[in-house]
């Protein structure tokens, strides 16, 4: 019996030694097939921000044929996009990818997705980008624990260098151009903001500040009116405030209509198409006629029924509503396309934490 065990043990040791000299045998990563033409015209980019700190941001492409291509940035360029892709913007032939925790802006050709440049100097916690006259304007939180270092960076689109910064209040978020002025929402960064900065593009300076309600999230400008969806502070902040929807006349910013949401309601997003404003509340989709401008009693439809767990991207574009679900933040997300009646038209899997849709010459 003892002898048997010695034999067994010797054998075991031999196996162990053999194993030692092998290297690990990894499984092949699935190869993302890319569009045959190699170009990304006529389709929708879905930005997947990736897990914070995990450097796995990526871009998916939904071709108008219905094909979905994942991780197009890394497939085309052979490198990762970076850590936490926040947003994207188009200007001319280029797409500008704002990568928040990497503190970079990756410039690519919007049709081939081929890498052109990385902007990294004077970019700290970048959020959103807007364009005017061959310049990009990028909101930056700076050090999020410093309430005084926030700014809008001015990017020279020819040199891909930041040529100026415009200091603004804490937590600049979305940025929108209208009639030579930039409107910047101050969602508040690590804190909670309640203002809109108005920046004069010509002088690159803040003209004035419009005070709205807490946590301005969605912003839309149409026909001389600025619409701002303020989510209000959520209950977990310990100082819950009401959500409000603002309709502000840009010719006279004192001329304002405000709709108050009920207590404990915290809507997000604001989209506009054909005279209708769209927003979401508790993962459900609501709409408002911009003339009547009255809060609806009921939602239009509920994507929750289709399995949406965390509505993390919301876009209305050419008669369709685009929604992305971030799931539990640690699995591949999903995209949903609805018609305006709320009928599900399409549904497809994307990558980690999809946060926005961008339409390329559809």
């Amino acid at each position: 019996m003892k002898k048997y065990f010695y034999k067994l043990a010797s054998l075991l040791m031999l196996v162990l030694i053999t194993m030692t000299s092998c290297t690990s045998d990894d499984r092949d990563d699935p190869i993302s097939v890319q569009p045959p033409s190699g170009d990304y015209t006529d389709g929708i980019f879905i930005l997947n921000e990736g897990g914070y700190g995990y450097s796995n941001a990526s871009v998916s492409f939904f071709e108008n044929t219905g094909e979905v291509y994942n991780s197009i940035y890394s497939e085309v360029n052979g490198m990762g996009l970076g850590d936490t892709a926040q947003s994207m913007g188009f200007y001319g032939e280029n797409a500008y990818l704002i990568v928040n925790n990497s503190a970079t802006i990756e410039v690519v050709n919007r049709y081939t997705f081929e890498f052109i440049a990385t902007v990294s100097d004077m970019i700290v916690n970048p959020r959103y980008i807007e364009f005017s006259d061959n310049k990009g304007y990028i909101t930056n939180w700076g050090d999020p624990n410093d309430v005084n270092d926030d700014y809008v960076a001015v990017l020279n689109l020819d040199t891909n260098l930041i040529e100026a910064t415009i200091p603004v209040a804490e937590g600049p978020e979305k940025i929108l151009l209208d009639n030579g002025k930039l409107y910047v929402t101050h969602k508040g960064g690590y804190g909670y903001g309640n203002t809109i900065s108005v920046i004069d593009v010509a002088s690159q300076s803040v003209l004035n500040t419009i005070t709205v309600a807490d946590v301005p999230d969605g912003i839309v400008i149409d026909n001389g009116f600025l619409y701002v969806m303020c989510s209000g502070k959520a209950s977990w902040t310990g100082d819950e405030t009401l959500a409000k929807l603002f309709k502000i006349s840009l010719s006279n910013t004192n001329e304002t209509i405000v709709l108050n949401f009920s207590a404990e309601q915290h809507p997000s997003y604001l989209e506009f198409e054909n005279g209708i404003l769209y927003y979401t509340l508790n993962n459900e989709v609501y709409s408002i006629d911009n003339n009547a401008f009255q809060l609806p009693e009921n939602f239009d439809f509920s994507p929750v029924a289709d399995g949406v767990e965390i509505l993390y991207a919301f876009k209305v574009y050419q008669g369709a509503i685009y929604i992305a679900d971030a799931k539990d933040y640690t699995s591949n997300g999903e995209a949903f396309i609805y018609n305006l009646n709320g009928d599900l038209q399409n549904q497809f899997s994307v990558q980690i934490i999809p946060n926005a849709f961008y339409f390329n010459n559809l």
Binding site: M1, K2, F5, Y6, A9, L12, M13, L16, I17, M19, T20, C22, T23, S24, D25, D26, R27, D29, P30, S32, G51, G53, Y54, S55, N56, N70, G80, D83, V99, N101, S102, A103, T104, S120, I123, V124, N125, D143, P144, N145, D146, A234, S235, W236, T237, G238, H266, N282, N283, E309, I310, Y312, A326, K327, D328, Y329, T330, S331, N332, I352
Partner: protein, 611 residues
């Protein structure tokens, strides 16, 4: 009496024999037993004990040491950065780390960052797989790691200096001075480790930016035999560490993190007739500061002061029966940037019974009653037996109920903390088969662990992360530890290996938890010829899922890493050693956390002097 001693020797002997490279295998030495020397719950489960000499051949961080020498899996955010364990497929906060028997897991996170423990401060480490909440309290679900300062007597004045230097300006200095007389022994140790840690990422043109760290550990242990029946021990430890967190991408905002932990313990042991009493009184402080921007003085922090007292009374009913009763009390006082000042009192009573039924059979029972209404006053238990079936085969069976209470962050984080959380509960059973021969020992353990009310931070419907009692987790697996040694004349060979197969699945989805590999395998070989020694360490981790849907494109590949070392002993009394190591010998390009590359092949030298 003689039989009894033999039995106990036998029971303990196997439990403790593992690991070594050039040093011979460590068994619990000097087991001069009298009945009340029976200790807590170590008889019906296996424990691995690693001694100083082996520790010295490993890198200073507890992460590195356990990674290469145990079945514990580690997730390390780049070398030296935040490191969390998964012991037997459990979560990071389900491994309890003990310092001379006192739990030192962070009260704020529930975890120990294994890169903030410097193994140089200790001369013995015990690795105990499996739940041991009855003895060790909250958090001992996957297993426990006990860091021990052990003192000898009658050895006079001794000094030891260990110094290493390696690539990336990595250095370590460890000085220990020890004095012992017949009745008194004191040890003072000072260790410092630091590194620029700017290693290149293999197969890329990037280097590890902002990864530098340094830490200092001071440990003091003293023991005095007051008289024949009373012994007083004093332990103290201070750890002061600073790390910059390496940036995930080159242009990211640089951050840093500091830890300052102190621990002190007074232990009074006394025995009289059939009783032995042990009183431990300890205070610990833990404080971290996180600087979100290295260039800014602003930081967030958490600070907890704890007072722990443990009293145990052993009563030997006969030579073969030991009854133990004990009381534990813990008081925590914590505050932080996101936690208003909160105090917490925990107390528990425990009782255990051990019986050596025959020369070959021992059984034990333990009960622990927690008296904390907030957590439902759980009653924990542990029961098991150990039997020697043949002269080389021993069987151990153990079952237990264990728990982990919510952490300070879980309960009190402003706005999202949830004071109504229930503790995690774990029901487990294990069977160990130990085979022991002259030159070889093999242990093979199968276990099952069912965890309820798993505490996790999960997003609610508005996307805000909040702590919740979430899933049920079912864990089962096999682990094996093999050690062997053989000499041919002056040629001495030693070998050891650990193997773990772990299934840890969410009961609802049936899917393996993220960052839990199915397989982990380590092995080490040592060779010694006169004054020359060489050793080889090898680690193989299976692939892990990084997403809960197991999407294949996000799987983190398996990896193997090996270290090769050699040392030469000098001096008339063989008191001096010089050594060299090649770490990551095969220059494997690997990550243990997604997109956090580890270093490629690098070199390290050391010097070990005793005087």
């Amino acid at each position: 009496m003689r039989y009894f001693v033999c039995t106990i020797l036998f029971c303990i002997g196997f439990s403790s024999m593992l690991h070594s490279q050039t040093d011979s295998i460590t068994a619990l030495r000097e087991v001069r037993l009298i009945a009340y020397r029976l200790k807590d719950s170590t008889y019906t489960r296996n424990v691995t004990i690693v001694k100083d000499s082996v520790l010295k051949q490993n890198q200073a961080s507890l992460t590195n040491f356990l990674n290469f020498n145990s079945t514990v899996y580690f997730k390390e955010n780049g070398l030296g950065m935040v490191s969390s364990p998964s012991f037997r497929g459990t979560t990071a906060s389900q491994t309890s780390v003990l310092w001379n028997g006192i739990n030192i897991n962070s009260q704020t996170t529930g975890q120990t960052d294994f890169n903030t423990i410097n193994t140089r401060g200790y001369n013995k480490i015990e690795i105990k797989p499996g739940g041991s909440s009855v003895a060790d309290g909250s958090g001992a679900i996957g297993g426990s790691i006990n860091l021990v300062n052990e003192l000898g007597f009658n050895k006079g004045f001794h000094n030891e200096l260990f110094a290493n230097y390696g690539e990336f300006n990595t250095y370590g200095i460890d000085y220990q001075t020890n004095y012992s007389s017949e009745k008194f022994s004191v040890l003072l140790g000072i260790a410092r480790n630091a590194s620029d840690n700017d290693y290149p990422y293999p197969e890329t043109d990037r280097i590890n930016i902002n990864g530098q760290y340094h830490n200092t550990n001071i440990s003091l242990a003293a023991t005095s035999k007051l008289n024949l029946n009373n012994t007083l021990k004093v332990f103290a430890n201070v750890y002061d560490g600073r790390r910059n967190f390496s940036v995930p991408t080159p242009n990211a905002l640089k951050t840093k993190y500091t830890d300052f932990n102190t621990r002190s313990l007074v232990e009074w042991e006394s025995h009289f007739s059939k009783f032995k009493s042990n009183l431990k009184i300890a205070t610990t402080t833990e404080e971290y500061r996180y600087f979100g921007n290295i260039d800014n003085d602003f930081y967030t922090y958490g600070k907890v002061t704890s007072f722990i007292s443990k009293y145990g009374l052993d009563f030997a009913l006969s030579n073969k029966i030991l009854l133990t009763a004990g009381i534990n009390y813990t008081h925590n006082d914590g505050k932080g940037s996101n936690i208003a000042s909160e105090t917490r009192n925990l107390s528990a009573a425990l009782i255990s019974f051990k019986h050596v039924l025959s020369e070959t059979f021992l059984y034990e029972l333990g009960l622990r009653q927690e008296t904390n209404e907030q957590y439902g006053n759980p009653l924990l238990y542990s029961a098991g037996f150990s039997t020697k079936l043949t002269d080389f085969y021993q069987l151990k069976v153990n079952t237990s109920k264990n728990f982990r209470i919510p952490t300070y962050n879980d309960l009190y984080w402003q706005g999202v903390g949830n004071p109504d959380l229930k503790p995690e509960e774990s029901y487990q059973g294990e069977i160990s088969n130990n085979f022991n021969f002259k030159n070889l020992s093999i242990s093979l353990t199968g276990y099952y662990n069912y965890v309820e009310n798993l505490l996790r931070w999960v997003p609610d419907s508005s996307g805000i992360f909040r702590p919740e009692n979430t899933n049920k987790v079912q864990i089962y697996g096999l682990e094996s530890v093999v050690t062997a040694q053989k000499s041919f004349g002056n040629h001495k060979f030693t070998g050891s290996a650990t193997f773990a197969y772990t299934v840890s699945e969410n009961k609802e989805t049936g899917k393996q938890l993220i960052y839990v590999p199915f397989y982990k395998f380590t092995t080490s070989f040592g060779y010694n010829y006169k004054r020359i020694s060489a050793y080889y360490q090898y680690l193989n981790n299976d692939e892990v899922f990084t997403t809960t849907d197991h999407a294949t494109e996000h799987i983190l590949d398996s990896y193997m890493v090996a270290n090769l070392g050699a040392e030469y002993t000098l001096g008339k009394n063989r008191d001096y050693k010089i050594g060299a190591q090649i770490l990551n010998f095969w220059n494997e390009s690997y990550e243990s956390v997604l997109n956090r590359p580890m270093p490629g092949r690098n070199f390290n030298f050391y010097l070990h002097l005793k005087f």
